[in-house]
């Protein structure tokens, strides 16, 4: 019983779900949630790319140095990407708070400028 490409498909589905929220939801916070979900999907994808079947975590403490290891670089990239995601979310939510302060609504349709 192997997983095949299931993890990749799951991360792609996460991106799709996030895109759906971003495109079709009218609430601004829902859109931010969509962005968060896309970020999560991309992070999951990056870590999945680096997984080597039967490998152990790339940490040598208390561990047999000869075993197979998973690839460390995607994990490093994901760490960076997670913190970037937090920064993005914080900034987006600050904008949402200010939009609410000015318009007293979070509905993207009602904020006429937002339609572009």
């Amino acid at each position: 019983m192997t997983l095949g490409q299931v993890p990749f498909v799951v991360s792609a589905l996460l991106v799709v779900i996030g895109l759906y929220a971003l495109l079709f939801k009218r609430n601004l916070i829902k859109m931010v949630i969509g962005v968060s979900i896309i970020e999560t999907g991309v992070n999951l994808f990056l870590v999945t790319v680096g997984y080597r079947a039967g490998g152990q975590a790339p940490i040598y403490t208390y561990s047999d140095p000869t075993t197979l290891r998973v690839l460390p670089t995607p994990q490093a990239l994901t760490l960076t990407s997670i913190v970037i995601g937090l920064a993005t979310t914080a900034l987006l939510l600050s904008f949402v708070v200010f939009i609410h302060r000015h318009y007293q609504t979070l509905d993207a349709e009602k904020i006429k400028e937002l339609k572009g």
């Binding site: 997983l3 792609a12 495109l23 460390p72």
Partner: protein, 91 residues
């Protein structure tokens, strides 16, 4: 019209992404990566750290980390700028 276009674009991107996912190599069999093998083999002698991920984050790819710290700094400065007190006369 606009709605239909959006839906079409969304479906296109969705199909695109799922196709991308299914054309990947099978899960658990990444390509042979010389870069990562180099990290795994030489980390303990070159950087003298047991945690290879930290070694990659701070040594081999330290510049990314600097950029990432910069992103966080930018976010903090941005939030600060948003929540600053604005004098009445500059509105």
């Amino acid at each position: 019209m606009k709605k239909a276009l959006t839906v079409a674009a969304f479906l296109l991107v969705a199909a695109f992404l799922v196709v991308a996912a299914t054309t990947m190599r099978p899960f658990g069999e990444p390509s042979h990566s010389e870069m990562d093998d180099y990290f795994l083999v030489n980390c303990q002698t070159e950087v003298v750290a047991n945690n290879v991920v930290t070694a990659v984050v701070f040594d081999y790819r330290g510049f990314d980390t600097l950029g990432e710290a910069t992103v966080l700094f930018a976010a903090v400065v941005g939030v600060l700028a948003l929540f600053r007190t604005v004098r009445e006369d500059e509105r």
